[in-house]
């Protein structure tokens, strides 16, 4: 057997394997898209792909305000939470990765504990506190917990990135008379931007995904985010079965994040695996 047929054969085997991975990743996605396109009459045909296609369910979810409102809430809350978590997390991660200060292991330990703590345990107290200070069912009432629970992830990922940055440059800057703060702002921060950006993506996905807080710490359209809104979906009118409407709404909130992921794939992989395992 010649080597060319050998490689062709290996290649085709790999294509089959790849095809299996693609099927695994996309079948549920294709199914929910297909469902969202099915007209009512064919909803119960049980077929994987729609036999007839309609866009009425997409029109329906945007026809009334509640879904658009939830979408705006989700985008606004997640962007603000990501932004603040990044600033605060970058500062802390720099200190953890680069500086020697008392209580460092305490900070790492506490953030680890928060990451492991069952969030369900915090829902009641947070609910009571937020009600008490009048932040229940507001943007801020969700932003604050999101920042808190994004911080351990941000600190962990960012400090792994920061360790990769060449020390010498900072030292050189200090030798040229820069204060530690200047060295941080002018030398390290620009070098760290790729890591910060990666962390931003991960934090944003985490916030966008949250269901438990969104469900328990909101009570109206004022601040309910999309994942929670989905579970309250009853269709555009009370007489309509919500199945395809839920599917359509699900597609709308999925497509942006899928595009996002496809676009930043490399960075996400780098972020998830950075510092996770190093010999």
């Amino acid at each position: 057997m010649s080597t060319t047929t050998e490689t062709t054969k290996t290649k085709s085997i790999w294509w089959v394997v790849n095809a299996i991975v693609l099927l695994y990743a996309f079948i549920p996605v294709v199914w929910i898209i297909s469902l969202s396109l099915k007209p009512d009459a064919t909803l119960n045909d049980g077929s994987f792909l729609p036999t007839k296609v309609t866009s009425e369910h997409y029109e329906a979810i945007f026809a009334n305000d509640s879904f658009t409102r939830a979408l705006i809430n989700s985008i606004g809350i997640c962007l603000i939470a990501t932004f603040i978590a990044l600033i605060v997390g970058t500062m802390a991660a720099y200190a953890v990765a680069r500086l020697d200060f008392p209580g460092k292991s305490l900070v790492v330990g506490v953030s680890l504990m928060i990451a492991m703590f069952p969030q369900i345990a915090l829902v009641t107290p947070l609910f009571k506190i937020l009600t008490g200070i009048g932040l229940f069912d507001t943007w801020l009432g969700l932003i604050i917990p999101y920042i808190t629970f994004a911080l351990p992830l941000a600190i962990y990922t960012l400090s792994a990135f920061f360790r990769e940055i060449p020390w010498e440059l900072e030292k050189a800057a200090k030798m040229d008379g820069a204060t530690p703060y200047q060295a941080f702002r002018k030398v390290i921060a620009p070098l760290a931007m790729p890591g910060v950006f990666t962390t931003a993506i991960l934090v944003f996905i985490t916030c966008w995904n949250d269901f438990l807080f969104a469900l328990s710490l909101t009570s109206s359209e004022r601040s309910r985010t999309v994942p929670a809104a989905l579970s309250y979906f009853t269709g555009a009118t009370t007489f309509e079965k919500p199945t395809q409407t839920v599917a359509a709404a699900a597609v709308v909130i999925t497509i942006p994040i899928v595009i996002f992921v496809l676009f930043f794939q490399r960075r996400i992989v780098a972020g998830l695996t950075s510092g996770a395992v190093k010999g």
Partner: protein, 311 residues
């Protein structure tokens, strides 16, 4: 690379008293800056979580029911006795534990397979790596709805005429499927990072010595990537034990498919029984702490981030 200590020692060895003093001033400035930079994050984390954690603990010793707000009183360990002798709790506990073990086992096996495919494939590597991330990024609730409809009688392409989400065991496997589908990529990525560290030469040498692919995997690769396996399994176990979203959407805990988080949620937000709900929350936390402890003691898994402080 990032070890500071030897550098400091060298400075002290070589330098005179002045240099040492300047050095210690630098140290002081470094400490001050370190504390300053870390303070906002630390304060925020403590402010948002310390009081709630303490409050949950405190509530767990009280009869606190929002339906009878005037009847709050200290009951000692009564709530714990009530929960620990309740059938609902132990059924949910057993269900959660079984769900955790089964999902993590499947995730590990399939995640390893996916990691190897992503690492080894010679065609369409970018395509495979990118699409494998899709399940990770999809909102859990959306994926859960996709599975729920797929298994709904009449509507779903998988269900046909049966209604699997109305039975306990069939629901169990659907929840496992939803969990596993969603988290294989996470597992695979952590494992792939480990695979990247296995030296090619070692595998080639083993291959020349006549080791089969299977033997190379078990005798060379697995021992070398054991740290990544342990970290991945630990992360996932802690997460799986807290499962909430998937069950909430798929069954809402009907037909005895409640996880501990669902039971606690029902007591807190639906039943408004804060005392009992908080007790359950504390017990979930204890269970997670015990799982983490066992992992670290038994397998010597590095606690996630523990190398952070050391390096």
């Amino acid at each position: 690379m990032s070890v500071t200590a030897p550098v400091d020692e060298r400075t002290e060895d070589e330098s005179a008293a002045i240099a040492r003093q300047r050095h210690s001033e630098g140290k002081k400035a470094e400490r001050r800056l370190g504390l300053m930079l870390v303070a906002p994050a630390a304060i925020l984390m403590v402010a948002v979580t310390a009081y709630p954690i303490g409050y949950a603990l405190w509530l767990s010793f009280f009869r606190a029911d929002l339906r009878t707000p005037d009847d709050n009183e200290f009951v000692g360990l009564d709530n714990y006795i009530t929960v620990l002798s309740s059938d609902i709790w132990w059924k949910a506990f057993g269900f959660t534990l079984l769900l955790t073990v089964v999902s993590v086992v499947f995730e590990l096996i399939l995640g390893m397979a996916l990691a190897i495919v992503m690492h080894r494939t010679i065609v369409g590597r970018g395509l495979v790596r990118t699409s494998a991330l899709v399940p990770y990024a999809i909102v859990t609730v959306v994926a859960a709805f996709s599975w729920r409809f797929a298994w709904s009688q009449g509507i779903g392409w998988l269900a046909g005429d049966s209604a699997p989400l109305t039975g306990q065991w069939s629901s169990f496997w659907i929840i496992v499927l939803a969990e596993v589908w969603k988290t294989i990529p996470f597992m695979a990525l952590l494992l792939m990072a480990g695979l990247a560290l296995v030296p090619e030469d070692l595998l080639k040498a083993a291959s020349i010595d006549g080791a089969s692919a299977w033997q190379r995997f078990w005798k060379v690769t697995v021992p070398l990537i054991k740290p990544s396996i342990l970290v991945a399994v630990l992360f996932r176990t802690l997460d799986a034990f807290r499962v909430f979203d998937n069950i909430y959407v798929l069954t809402s805990g009907a037909n005895e498919t409640s996880s501990v988080s669902i039971v606690a949620y029902n007591n807190l937000m639906r039943g408004l029984n804060l005392g009992i709900g908080s007790t359950m929350s504390v017990l979930i936390f204890l269970a997670i702490a015990i799982i983490a402890f066992i992992f670290i003691k038994l397998f010597g898994a590095a606690a996630p981030g523990s190398d952070e402080g050391r390096r």
